[in-house]
């Protein structure tokens, strides 16, 4: 008996695959299932299949470090992620499921004059766009997180930080399952162990998918996969502004709750928080070389551990429990790519890089609206694929930072 056993979610798997659906969603992770959930709950569209090649939440949804925040660097992104923060805040209530959502506050540390400028700018644009973030000095940082070594072990001194009180975490698997449950309850079919092997087209329009269980006709096909979107898109001859990179993290064993906020540092290329279970959860930036390999690397563990210890010296004697790797889709301008693709009937939600988890509710809600109405909602219009050809890239590298 432990307090973390899931006690309420009821997943009702379909017994057979229908031959045709209005919408087929490739990828049973957070984004795919949330889109199905909002299609069903907000638009009454339930003739929907979600196809997952492994088990639901088995990709990046189950490998990420569960951080929710809206402190991005460009207005369009701040507004979008703030919508997600708001939806997350009420998701437990809406789904009536315990998602272990906890508001913790997020400190993003500046170690240089350039870092101060960046965090001040972040605070200003966040505030202007409805996401609360303030620039704080070292004294305030110490109050928020007494464990930080403000001298940075004499190497990376802490000059200041942006503080985002809404920064929070939730249990990643439960978010996935709550969306799956809600969608399935209204009639959406979710299939595990069903990989897509091809996409059917007729006169330039997508008409369905080929799967390991045979063909399925579809009015709309949405790729909501993480890591392998290039392969899916190539099935309709579409090239994407995406490169796939490994992203690694590790956790320690469980310790008594004592580390309250989420702490991130671009200068040190890492971040840390304490999970509800008591593990210290530590991550870093993406691996620079594009790759689809899920191997965990030793240099990541060694260097990330070293860097975070300079900021949080108490980490030294904690014991490492496990490290793991996800592969994430990083777009050319470090912002997501959502919506229409120019291929009739084929939509994508990708480019989630290192921040897909926090976008699940808003991404799902907005894509559902697009599918239901045929019109791209204003909130995600800036993230359309055609922005690259229109010279309207959404450069936000500074926010790609660490998570």
């Amino acid at each position: 008996m432990n307090e973390f056993v899931e006690r309420a979610i009821d997943l009702r798997w379909p017994t057979e695959v229908k031959r045709a659906y209005d919408v087929v969603i490739i990828g049973g992770g957070g984004h795919g299932l949330a889109t199905a959930y909002y299609l069903a709950t907000r638009h009454g569209i339930t003739n929907v299949a979600v196809l997952e090649c492994s088990y639901i939440g088995g990709g990046n949804s189950g490998r990420n470090t569960t951080i929710i925040r809206a402190n991005y660097g460009v207005p369009e992104a701040v507004r979008f992620y703030q919508r997600s923060v708001d939806l997350y805040a009420h998701l437990e209530q809406e789904t009536d499921r315990a998602l272990m959502h906890k508001t913790k506050g997020l400190l993003w540390i500046a170690h240089s004059e350039a870092g101060i400028r960046q965090e001040r700018a972040r605070a200003a644009v966040n505030t202007a766009c409805g996401a609360s973030t303030e620039y704080v000095d070292p004294g305030t940082i110490r109050e928020i997180c007494p464990q930080i070594d403000l001298t940075g072990n004499g190497v990376w001194p802490v000059y200041g930080a942006s503080y985002h009180p809404a920064g929070s975490t939730a249990r990643h698997d439960r978010v996935v399952w709550a969306y799956a449950e809600g969608a399935m309850r209204l009639g959406v079919d979710v299939f595990q162990r069903t990989g897509v092997t091809g996409i059917r087209m007729d006169r330039g329009r997508v008409t369905g998918v080929e799967t390991s269980d045979g063909p399925i006709a579809a009015g709309i096909v949405l790729s909501a996969v993480g890591g392998h979107v290039t392969t899916i898109a190539s099935m309709v001859g579409l090239r994407l502004p995406i490169r796939t990179h490994p992203l690694q993290a590790f956790v320690t064993n469980r310790y008594a709750q004592a580390f309250h906020p989420i702490v991130a540092s671009s200068g040190l290329g890492g971040y840390a928080s304490q999970t509800a279970k008591g593990e210290m959860l530590i991550g870093a930036e993406i691996d620079r070389a594009p790759s689809y390999a899920y191997d965990s690397g030793h240099p990541f563990l060694q260097h990330c551990a070293f860097r975070m210890m300079t900021l949080l010296p108490f980490l030294r004697d904690l014991r490492v429990l496990r490290q793991w790797t996800g592969v994430c889709d990083m777009s050319t301008d470090y912002s997501p790519v959502m919506g229409l693709t120019g291929v009739d009937g084929f939509l994508v939600t990708t480019g989630w890089g290192t921040w897909g988890f926090k976008a699940i509710p808003a991404g799902g809600e907005q894509l559902a609206a697009l599918i239901a109405t045929g019109r791209t909602p204003d909130l995600i219009a800036p993230f359309s694929l055609d922005r690259f050809a229109r010279d309207r890239t959404m450069a936000d590298r500074g926010s790609a930072g660490t998570h």
């Binding site: 008996m1 432990n2 973390f4 056993v5 899931e6 979610i9 009821d10 798997w13 088990y55 639901i56 088995g58 189950g62 170690h111 240089s112 004059e113 350039a114 400028r117 001040r120 700018a121 605070a123 200003a124 644009v125 202007a128 990376w156 595990q192 320690t252 064993n253 469980r254 310790y255 008594a256 304490q274 279970k277 210290m280 390999a293 899920y294 191997d295 965990s296 690397g297 030793h298 563990l301 060694q302 260097h303 551990a305 070293f306 860097r307 210890m309 010296p313 108490f314 980490l315 030294r316 004697d317 904690l318 014991r319 490492v320 429990l321 496990r322 490290q323 010279d391 890239t393 450069a395």
Partner: protein, 738 residues
């Protein structure tokens, strides 16, 4: 610190505690092999230590985890000696030195291979097999990183299956192997009942039938009896002090699975098929996370059928033993629900635990380089700051005086951090014509030009200077922060184009000191340069006896001479200039003053004022691209994007000082402030400063067009600002030309 490793497990801290200290060890079936979570303790401040794997050190502070039922604290550590990491390259690595591992090592050595053996019982805990291939072990002497050229032999054996029945939390339960080891080391076991395969060399009662449960003795924490059931369903209760459990073996194959696809081979028991125990019916399955059979049944009934989903829904297998104890039972449980037997979880590092401090051994921070003048700056009291990837003087204590020295007298600045590259060869001109968006062929030897570097998207990636030395030889500069990328960029294009050129990166080789101010020429004259180059020219000369290439450009807005020289001469040149300029009021200026000076001139800083998608049109620098040039990187993109409507532009802004009752206060918005056009968020300020010369705040910032127009009056930081053309200071550029 506990002494790790040492001799045999029988001399472990755990057996010591059981035998000599009489410590009431926490419950659960002890394995003595590092597989189970039942002997975990905090030893000298490090928690989650498997006491069965640690040799006893007199005076070690030991707290068994189970003793207080609390999670260990996240506390600040005391001092510890540094941990070293040592690298070995060898032919073969053999992990595990049981019988199979010893044979493998002997065989490999017999054919002359360099073999490294790593054995947990010798205190060499392999934590993972990583890409490389790289085998990492934690040892009593620090970390070991072993790179095999050939095979990795995994001989880690098998672990014993834990009991998953009610009462399996009681004290007095041991695996059959552990029972034998404890008895051999003199731990009194009392009356022993053996379930399954009996232990070697111990007198015990053999229990027959199916294990049902353990029952406590008069001490509710200790086993008093084991209950078995025969095929007819009849239960038998066997009284005992200790239960030995020989429930079968499961391969300890995490390293083997982790190394899948590498040159790896298992030998010995690690290749055993995993024994599938009977489906558990009641009790705790995962002692680490406290997951019961009822929990498994509950989540399974609600659709969690996949092993991974069951793990995630219950957290079984996520504790210190990482599923070693529970996975066989969960697989058996799921198989009994009618599904095929599912493979175990993906094997991930770390397979044996170690501290963050240990795993970090051998890591270093990325270096922040220092110029040859670093000690001079520190000696002058400079506040040093990381900027553009270098340590640079931010200021020397009086920014206003540093600023004034440039505007009214003479000053020097260490600009050694600039990227510098020499390009020579018959193909040099053609290469540079391709790299830069302006004509290079029209640049005569002896001339220099300010240029942007564009990427293929037509976006600015760097800026700097091209100076022509001869028909076939050029010197380029890049920004301090962009120099590394620029070298890669130029080399890549030189190769792609097959250019017949020689490229030398001289960033670290050459020091550079900028001499600037209305009296700069006077200072140079005193240093022996009577006829310095004219504006946008360059030439070779000795300055105070130091051979220099002098570039006449200006970033500060005043007359400027950039003196490039061998790095070894920087200190001599620096002191000579300071000394020669003493009566001219010379003082060096730091970056803070320089950023103010350049902003008055409206010069942008790539990386601060620009972004990923800064085209020259967006920067208001269309003069810096010549589309009549037939080919250069980014040309097609510039043509293409110029046909699209402009959305925003980098603009100059000015704002008056605040008038209080008695004076004008120079309050300036912070960099990063938002720009408002009425109620609309219209942009962000990238650079700001108070201009003492102009008596107002000046800024650069991104401004969105509205209805195709740039607004003129905007609000920044709650105050009115005006969009104005740049430069703010000396727009005709008379001062820089001298």
């Amino acid at each position: 610190m506990a002494e790790f490793g040492g001799q045999m497990a029988a001399d472990s801290l755990l057996t010591h505690l059981l035998r000599d200290a009489g410590v009431a060890i926490g419950g659960g079936c002890l394995c003595l092999a590092g597989d189970c979570p039942h002997c975990l303790a905090t030893v000298d401040g490090v928690s989650y230590v498997r006491t069965c794997q640690v040799t006893f050190r007199e005076g070690a502070a030991v707290t068994l985890h189970a003793a207080n039922g609390q999670l260990p604290p996240l506390e600040s550590p005391g001092e510890r000696p540094p941990v070293t990491a040592r690298t070995t390259h060898c032919d073969i690595v053999v992990i595990g030195q049981g019988p199979a591992g010893r044979v493998a090592a002997t065989d490999a050595r017999s054919v002359g291979a360099h073999v490294v053996t790593l054995d947990a019982r010798e205190g060499q805990d392999v934590i993972g097999v990583y890409p490389g291939p790289l085998v990492v072990a934690r040892t009593e002497d620090g970390m070991r990183h072993v790179y095999p050229r050939g095979e990795i032999v995994v001989a880690t054996g098998a672990s014993e299956i834990q009991p998953a029945v009610p009462g399996n939390h009681l004290r007095g339960l041991v695996t059959a192997r552990a029972a034998a080891e404890l008895a051999a080391s003199g731990v009194p076991l009392g009356q022993v009942v053996a379930v399954g395969t009996p232990p070697d060399g111990i007198v015990c009662e053999l229990a027959s039938g199916t294990l049902v449960r353990f029952e406590p003795s008069s001490d509710p924490t200790r086993v008093g009896a084991v209950v078995m059931r025969d095929p007819g369903g009849v239960e038998t209760r066997l009284a005992c002090d200790t239960v030995s459990l020989g429930l079968g073996l499961t391969p300890r194959d995490a390293l083997l699975r982790m190394a899948r696809g590498m040159n790896v081979r298992g030998v010995g028991d690690v290749l055993l098929p995993a024994h599938v125990p009977p489906c558990p019916v009641e009790g705790t399955v995962c002692p680490c996370a406290g997951v019961t059979v009822a929990d498994l049944a509950s989540v399974h009934a609600r659709g969690f059928h996949e092993l991974e989903l069951v793990k995630r829904a219950t957290l079984a297998g996520t504790g210190p033993c990482q599923g070693a104890g529970c996975v066989p039972h969960i697989r058996a449980f799921l198989a009994a629900q009618g599904a095929a037997l599912q493979p175990p979880f993906t094997a991930r590092p770390v397979t044996r635990q170690l501290t963050i401090g240990e795993v970090a051994a051998g890591a270093h921070h990325a270096v922040t380089p220092r110029t040859a003048l670093h000690e001079e700056h520190v000696g002058l009291g400079a506040i040093m700051e990381r900027l553009g990837g270098w340590w640079r003087p931010w200021h020397y204590g009086d920014v206003d005086a540093e600023y004034s020295a440039v505007r009214t007298g003479v000053s020097i600045c260490d600009v050694s951090t600039l990227g510098k590259m020499q390009v020579s060869g018959p193909g040099a001109l053609a290469l540079l014509e391709h790299l830069y968006p302006v004509p290079i062929s029209t640049l005569a030897p002896g001339r220099a030009r300010y240029v942007f570097l564009l990427d293929e998207r037509g976006y600015v990636i760097d800026d700097g200077m091209v100076a022509r030395e001869s028909d076939t030889r050029f010197n380029l500069t890049f920004t301090s922060g962009g120099a590394t990328f620029a070298e890669m960029w130029v080399r890549d294009w030189a190769e792609s184009l097959g250019a017949d050129v020689r490229l030398m990166n001289q960033t670290f080789s050459l020091g550079a000191i900028n001499v600037t101010g209305p009296r700069a020429a006077e200072l140079l004259a005193r240093a022996g340069v009577g006829a310095p180059p004219a504006f946008l020219h360059h030439g070779q000369a000795d300055v105070a006896g130091v051979p220099c290439r002098i570039y006449r450009l200006s970033f500060t807005g005043e007359v400027s001479f950039e003196l490039h020289h061998a790095a070894a001469d920087s200190v001599r040149l620096w002191h000579a200039l300071l000394s020669l300029g003493q009566d001219l009021g010379i003082r060096p200026h730091g970056l803070k003053a320089l950023l103010k000076l350049r902003l008055e001139k409206g010069h942008l800083i790539v990386g601060q004022d620009t972004d990923f998608d800064s085209s020259l049109r967006r920067l208001g620098c269309e003069w810096a691209v010549r589309l009549d040039k037939p080919a250069f990187i980014g040309r097609q993109a510039v043509l293409r994007t110029n046909r699209l409507p402009l959305d925003r532009q980098l603009c100059g802004f000015e704002m008056d000082g605040e008038q209080t009752t008695s004076e004008v206060v120079c309050r300036t918005p912070a960099e990063g402030a938002t720009i408002w056009d009425g109620e609309d968020l219209a942009g962000v300020v990238t650079s700001t400063t108070w201009s003492p010369t102009l008596g107002k705040s000046i800024m650069l910032g991104w401004l969105r067009l509205k209805d195709g127009q740039l607004p003129t009056d905007v609000t920044i930081d709650g105050r009115t600002a005006r969009r104005v053309p740049t430069p703010f200071y000396d727009p005709e550029g008379r001062r820089a030309r001298g």
